[in-house]
């Protein structure tokens, strides 16, 4: 349905490349941010067992 809606909307089709780039930047930054925060938590638990 989303594909149909996007395809029928000429304005969105014209800027599809820009939308893709924005999507990539958000995906990359979000993933990198969460990986860095995971690294911080890892520093505090790496020598401890996962569960009791």
């Amino acid at each position: 349905m989303l594909g149909l809606e996007v395809g029928a909307n000429d304005a969105i089709i014209r800027q599809f490349g820009t939308l893709g780039l924005e999507a990539f930047l958000l995906a990359f930054a979000g993933t990198l941010g969460s990986v860095v925060f995971a690294g911080l938590l890892w520093l505090t638990v790496r020598d401890k067992p996962v569960s009791k």
Binding site: M1, L2, G3, L4, E5, V6, G7, A8, N9, I12, I13, F16, L19, G20, E22, A23, F24, L25, L26, A27, F28, A29, G30, T31, L32, G33, S34, V35, V36, F37, A38, G39, L40, L41, W42, L43, T44, V45, R46, K48, P49, V50, S51, K52
Partner: protein, 200 residues
Amino acid sequence: MKGSLIILSFFAIGLLLGISRFFPVEVLNYNISFYVLCGLMFSVGISIGNDPSSFRQFRNLNPRLIFLPLMTILGTWLGVLAVSFFLKNRTMADCLAVGSGFGYYSLSSILITQCKGVELGTIALLSNIMREVMTLLFAPWMVRYFGKLAPICAGGATTMDTTFPIIIRTSGKDYAIVSIYQGFIMDFTVPFLVTFFCSL
């Protein structure tokens, strides 16, 4: 990966049908997305509620690992907020709504399309699929440089299903329960956070 490609293929087919005007545009006025969303929310509820044994296993987790979903959320928000300064057409709330999909592209794209329109819905779909693909491709690299929790945080809401196998392979079997815990909590939070940021 296969699941993402199938979803992308359906998106591409819909796109081509829309461009060619093969389907009358009036079809879109029936609000089919809303009914699909209702079905999706129903299945999310079932998947969260059908395994009470998971709750008991979560209680045995190292107490610090309880904060893993929180680290995923905070890290993601910080990342997308940084990017939002460079995206002139998007508000911070738009970027946070897209980021709060945490890889759950089906649910977040439908929710965002309903609230914010098809343009941001498209960004949400593509962005969350990209997050899943990045996790699948770069999990070994993440473990090497950021530790065994990194692919779990990167996987976001997908760590109970599509990215689970790669997490087990790269972080080790010990982290299976952590991965399930993370997926469980994130699956639950995505609809609330996405709806919240859409309402701002």
